[in-house]
Amino acid sequence: MDWIALGLSLRLGALTVLILLPVGIGLGRLLAYRSFPGKGIVEAALALPLVLPPTVVGYYLLVAFGGASPLGQAFQALFGRGLVFTFEGLLAASVLVNLPFAIQPMQRAFEAIPRDVREAASVSGMSPRQVLARIDLPLAWPGIVTGLVLAFAHTLGEFGVVLMVGGSISGETRTVAIAIYDRVQAFDNAAAALMSLTLLMLSLAALGLTYALSSRIGRRHG
């Protein structure tokens, strides 16, 4: 069992989720409540990681993060480290790849709140911030948690993008999914089996939780 890889995966998942929480709520509400020109294109772009092969996403991120790109150069200049083959780069990639997993359940949950309930909150004297805190979040939280759990589970299992952007540097970019691949390559089937089982159980628990929460949303708005 590669404990370093497991710890790195968990850290990557936790930080991804931490960043996606405000981003997902913000973008989820924007897409649920506003209409603007090009909204369809924005939604399609956000959903792209769901359909593209991870190697394709990874390739573009590698190009975008690389030392030759303005983004890579800016990051290098600011922090003295590159975005490619570093934990920071892996985290950035993880956030981008997980956007649809986090946003879609949140957006659906915000959309399920009847418009007149939110309007009633406004005319009852609640500011937009109070509507968020007292109406949107309490009614949409199962969707928010679902989005975060899905993103966390997907981060643990992501392979292609991690390999393209991060490689397999122990303690820096080698996640459990990569470690399993390494162990199989090294004919260490026992370690691969143990780590696979760990991932399987974590994913099963995450999905079980999301299904339980989805039925809760259905009940509340049904």
Binding site: D116, V117, E119, V123, S124, G125, M126, R220
Partner: protein, 376 residues
């Protein structure tokens, strides 16, 4: 209308826009007055209400309430809904599903100190006759009870205008009657303008002091419900209020006591005279079904007393709960049927049925004349 509103106590609204639906509406409502916005679906009633609440921003216009300017397109003023002192009862009530009934009302009291909210919310529960239901969730309340919570929540804000968007459409008839009486009672306690959106003319006549008939985003007629329902200003208004017995005729003569019209070969007297309508001009005329009186074939009816006697045959009889609605055909033209109501016991006693020959009197003072365009 609405003189007090202009003086800054009530509500005055002027809205104009081309899209999403065209709107050109000016209206006012005094404190303590109930103004009904009536009209067919898509007339703009709800859009006007939403604009007053701040949920819709019209392209141009002004909204002043209780002396405060909420919207003024000229000055670039637009006060967002949460800063307007409005109470809104939504058609679907729009209660907060995750809060208790009491929580719903307290949620609209953010302007009060925390400690005072509970006490004041309980007072409102007493006012709407809901004491004992404070801890229930909206899903555990009946339609009528949800409506009362919605009213309590609208009042919790201490609004300077109360907006009711078809608030009675989702409850059964028996509950509706009860809620009507309670609203009438409540408005005596409230010194704010009340704007009621409805498509039910009976409801408007029952609850409102004044009525504004809207169609296609325009005010077709404003006045008391009685004026509009009995004496619509135009044929368009008459059609919108679904006036029974609406026909077209021609002015025949003016006499000192009456104006005479020609209608389908008959002469009908109309009092008081309407010298403003030129002799020979086409007019629409209408008579409420209550102003058509039935005689049973006995030609002894005195024309002096009722006037405008016509012979006809009963074409339709429909027994309603308390009255019987009948249509009497005059002549062979099916377009010349007059609708009237007679008490149910009278219809039963006399054995009124389709095919019975009858004489009817159209009361001259019940006939309402409306000018038709010159091209008619």
């Amino acid at each position: 209308m609405g003189e007090g509103a202009a003086a800054g106590n009530g509500l005055s609204v002027c809205l104009r826009q081309d899209a999403p639906i065209p709107l050109d509406v000016t209206l006012a409502c005094d404190r303590g007055e109930v103004l009904a916005l009536v009209g067919p679906s898509g007339a703009g009633k709800s859009t006007v209400l939403r604009a007053i609440a701040g949920l819709h921003r019209a392209q141009a216009g002004r909204i002043v309430c209780g002396g405060a300017s909420w919207f003024d397109s000229g000055a670039g003023t637009f006060v967002p809904p949460h800063r307007r002192a409005v109470g809104v009862v939504f058609q679907s009530y729009a209660l907060f599903p995750h809060m208790t009934a009491l929580g719903n009302v307290e949620a609209a009291m953010l302007h009060l100190p925390r400690g005072e909210r509970r006490r004041r919310a309980r007072e409102l529960f007493d006012l709407v006759h809901l004491a004992g239901f404070e801890a229930r969730r909206p899903a555990e309340l009946s339609g009528g009870q949800q409506q009362r919570v919605a009213v309590a929540r609208a009042l919790a804000r201490e609004p300077s205008v109360l907006l009711l968007d078809e608030p009675f459409s989702a409850v059964d008839k028996a509950t509706r009657g009860k809620l009507y009486r309670e609203l009438a009672e409540m408005r005596r306690l409230l010194a704010v303008p009340i704007v009621l959106v409805t498509h039910d003319f009976d409801e408007a006549a029952r609850l409102a002091d004044r009525m504004c008939l809207l169609d296609g985003g325009r005010v077709v007629q404003a006045g008391t419900p009685h004026e509009i329902l009995a004496r619509p200003a135009t044929v368009e208004a008459a059609r919108l209020v679904d006036l029974k017995n609406l026909f077209e005729g021609r002015i025949a003569a003016h006499e000192p006591g009456a104006t005479w019209i020609d209608w389908a070969g008959r002469s009908l007297a109309v009092t008081p005279p309407r010298p403003d309508l030129a002799v020979g001009s086409a007019v629409a005329w209408a008579v409420p079904s209550t102003q058509v009186i039935l005689h049973r074939g006995d030609a002894g009816a005195d024309e002096e007393k009722h006037g405008n006697l016509c012979d006809g045959v009963v074409a339709e009889v429909a027994a309603l709960s308390e009255a019987t609605s009948i249509v009497v055909a005059l002549g062979s033209d099916p377009g010349h049927g007059l609708a009237m109501t007679v008490p149910a016991h009278y219809a039963r006693r006399t054995g009124l049925a389709a095919g019975t020959a009858v004489t009817i009197a159209i009361r001259p003072e019940g006939i309402h004349l409306m000018a038709l365009g010159p091209d008619r």
